[in-house]
């Protein structure tokens, strides 16, 4: 697999607004890469820069090894599926899908053949003569995708393409998109704020926050080994606490939290007396009725929330913080108000460098000097 899109040191500044900061991403051929983040994190701007609608303030973006600024948008092997679909309202579905081929002056018989084939692929056969206003949201979405894919782009950019659809349709379209992407072997760069969507569809996810990529990794890595506090809280539910590393032995750190010490698996990058954040997914949490060695947390069961397949147990710690513990429905559970000892397998928890640690350290150094 070769590199198809290379983003190097890209910054985008609008007036006093630094939207994208020092962005470096390499996208492999045939990959499904998702830019994930909340609104205003710079993900759409990044996509628009790859599409050539916006110019980076600094840095370069290369597609197929060539810097994009050397080519106009209409000369590139990149197509976009817009958030609002951007279907041409005065053209029929056939003409909408045929637009790209018509611009490339493909012979009419070939256009017809390819459009009909594409319409079949996105399950829109028979809609040729309708207008966009006569279609449902999901159908419009398919037209938008077909209109982009018919040009056989090397890279397809999708800007929240499923944002306007209802949940059920969205789930269905997620699978369809993934199927199309595998079938056509086209590189997809996908923008979304929906973390579940990102986890379901992507080969790799770039989690963006304030114009910076916090983590670029596979969905499993992102979920199980979040690199920053933001990634841990943004993707899935988690129990997250700040503390100080008090000892490390055999890849297990003892971290002292406000409510007592806990054990967390860690790597070599951590040192004793470092401020760090502990993240434990609710489904990895366990509890016992008797104290567990190495864990000093004591909690009181506060509430149960039934969500179908699992039962969420809310427990509160002495300082008022709450923990979420997930249990399969049907398991035996302590009564509300009873005392429990939460713990976990140290390997199941994640230790994250705390950004504020650097500030504390710098302050310490200033004080010492």
């Amino acid at each position: 697999m070769g590199k198809i899109v290379e983003i190097e040191g890209v910054n985008k500044i609008y007036g006093s607004n630094h939207v994208v900061r020092n962005l470096d991403i390499t996208v492999d051929e045939g990959e499904f890469l998702t830019l994930l983040g909340s609104s205003g994190c710079g993900k759409t701007t990044t996509l628009r820069m790859i599409a050539g609608f916006e110019e980076p303030t600094t840095g370069t973006i290369k597609v197929e090894g060539e810097p994009i600024e050397e080519k106009e948008p209409f000369e590139r092997n990149v197509n976009t599926v817009f958030q609002s679909y951007a279907l041409f309202p005065h053209k029929t579905i056939f003409d909408n899908i045929a637009y790209g081929l018509k611009m490339k002056k493909v012979p009419k018989t070939e256009i017809k053949e390819r459009v009909l084939e594409m319409m079949e692929m996105v399950q829109l056969s028979g809609f040729e003569h309708r207008y966009p206003s006569q279609l449902s949201g999901g159908q419009k979405q398919r037209v938008a995708i077909a209109r982009a894919l018919i040009n056989r782009p090397r890279v397809l950019l999708l800007d929240e393409p499923l944002g306007a659809l209802d949940l059920k349709l969205r789930k269905q379209m997620q699978l369809e998109l993934k199927r199309l992407q595998k079938k056509l072997n086209i590189t997809f760069i996908y923008v979304t704020h929906d973390q579940e969507e990102a986890l379901t569809m992507s080969d790799r996810i770039a989690v963006m926050h304030d114009g910076v990529i916090d983590q670029l990794a596979t969905p499993t890595d992102i979920y199980e080994h979040p690199a920053t506090r933001f990634v841990a809280t943004f993707i899935g539910e988690t129990n997250i606490y700040d503390g100080c590393v008090t000892s490390i032995s055999d890849g297990v750190a003892t971290v002292t939290l406000e409510n007592g010490a806990v054990k967390v698996g860690c790597d070599d990058s951590f040192s004793i007396l470092e401020y760090a954040t502990v993240s434990v997914r609710p489904e990895k949490m366990r509890f016992s009725k008797t104290p567990i060695e190495g864990f000093e947390l004591v909690a009181v069961v506060k509430d149960y929330i039934y969500v179908g397949s699992v039962l969420k147990c809310i427990v509160s710690l002495p300082n008022g913080n709450e923990l979420k513990i997930e249990r399969l429905a049907g398991q035996e559970l302590p009564k509300i108000g009873s005392k429990i000892y939460p713990y976990w397998n140290p390997e199941d928890a994640v230790l994250i460098h705390n950004d504020s640690y650097k500030i504390f350290k710098a302050l310490d150094e200033i004080r010492l000097a």
Binding site: E72, F74, T80, S84, F88, G100, R147, N151
Partner: protein, 292 residues
């Protein structure tokens, strides 16, 4: 947002129709319909030898209207109105596009440039053009001084001069509907077009013009129809060489003092207008954007 149904708010508090819409209806009947009926009646009246109106039915006025001399003036009217409309589109479209696509302060400034001339009487502005273009006017003085020409150029009293004046007077009526149509145009459609491989010129003809055709359409109607009746422009800048239907009507009422003939001409002009508006409506035009 959910709109509250006003029906419920006014229940039990409705005023009789006579009080609410009555005065407006009276106003319209008295000031619009009655004069129109009067014009219609007048167009079938005869005149005595001193051109006083005699209320005796005749269709003679209408039969006079098909004489070749009048035909020539109808043709000239349509030609001037057509040229004016075309020039207004060609000049107004890019300008409207620029206003619609610029932002904030600059946009307001450009918009004001269209509106400000309205604050001066159009008759005075047209006289201004005559002073500017006349044989001893500014333009000729400048050309003579720069020795580009050796004697004054006759700018005035030509079809082109009248068209110039018409365009000058009527272009705001083209720009405003065009601006509204272009403003509504979704920018992402243009991006999509470029993204799919269209060069800017293709995007113009494939996307921008078709999607703003309603604006071109209503702008054209709003320029073409008044153009047929703006007799003063043709009077001042055309000097009798570019007579239009409006001039004919004016002359019948003023110098020729043949009111019935003038009324018949007016009826013809009203009919032409109605046909054009009807055609506009038939072609899917939006009556609201004409302000009718």
């Amino acid at each position: 947002m959910e709109k509250k149904k006003s029906k419920h708010e006014f229940r039990g508090n409705t005023l009789p129709a006579l009080v609410t819409v009555g005065p407006v209806t009276l106003l319209l009947l008295g000031l619009v319909l009655a004069p129109l009926i009067f014009v219609l009646v007048m167009s079938f009246c005869s005149t005595d030898e001193f051109y006083n109106v005699v209320y005796r039915f005749t269709a003679e006025n209408y039969s006079k209207l098909v004489s070749p001399d009048y035909m020539k003036i109808y043709g000239q009217s349509l030609l001037i109105a057509f040229l004016t409309t075309v020039v207004c589109i060609l000049l107004g479209y890019p300008f409207s596009y620029i206003i619609a696509r610029t932002k904030n302060k600059k946009k307001k400034l450009l918009y004001m440039l269209v509106i400000i001339p309205f604050w001066t009487n159009s008759l005075i502005r047209i006289y201004g053009w005559r002073t500017f273009l006349g044989n001893s006017g500014w333009l000729n003085s400048l050309l003579l001084k720069l020795q580009i020409v050796s004697e004054p150029v006759d700018f005035l009293y030509k079809t082109g001069t009248t068209v110039l004046g018409m365009v000058y007077c009527l272009i705001p009526f083209m720009i405003l509907p065009l601006y509204t149509a272009i403003e509504k145009l979704d920018g992402s459609l243009l991006e999509a077009s470029g993204d799919l491989g269209a060069r800017p010129i293709r995007t113009l003809f494939e996307i921008i013009i078709p999607l703003t055709s309603s604006g071109i359409f209503s702008g054209s109607i709003m320029v073409f129809i008044p153009c047929l009746g703006y007799f003063f422009v043709s009077n001042i800048l055309g000097g009798g060489n570019t007579d239009m239907i409006g001039n004919l009507i004016e002359r019948q009422f003023k110098s020729a003092n043949n009111w019935p003939l003038g009324a018949a001409l007016s009826i013809i002009l009203i009919l032409v207008t109605l046909i054009l508006v009807k055609a506009y409506q038939k072609a899917g035009g939006d009556m609201d954007s004409l302000g009718l």
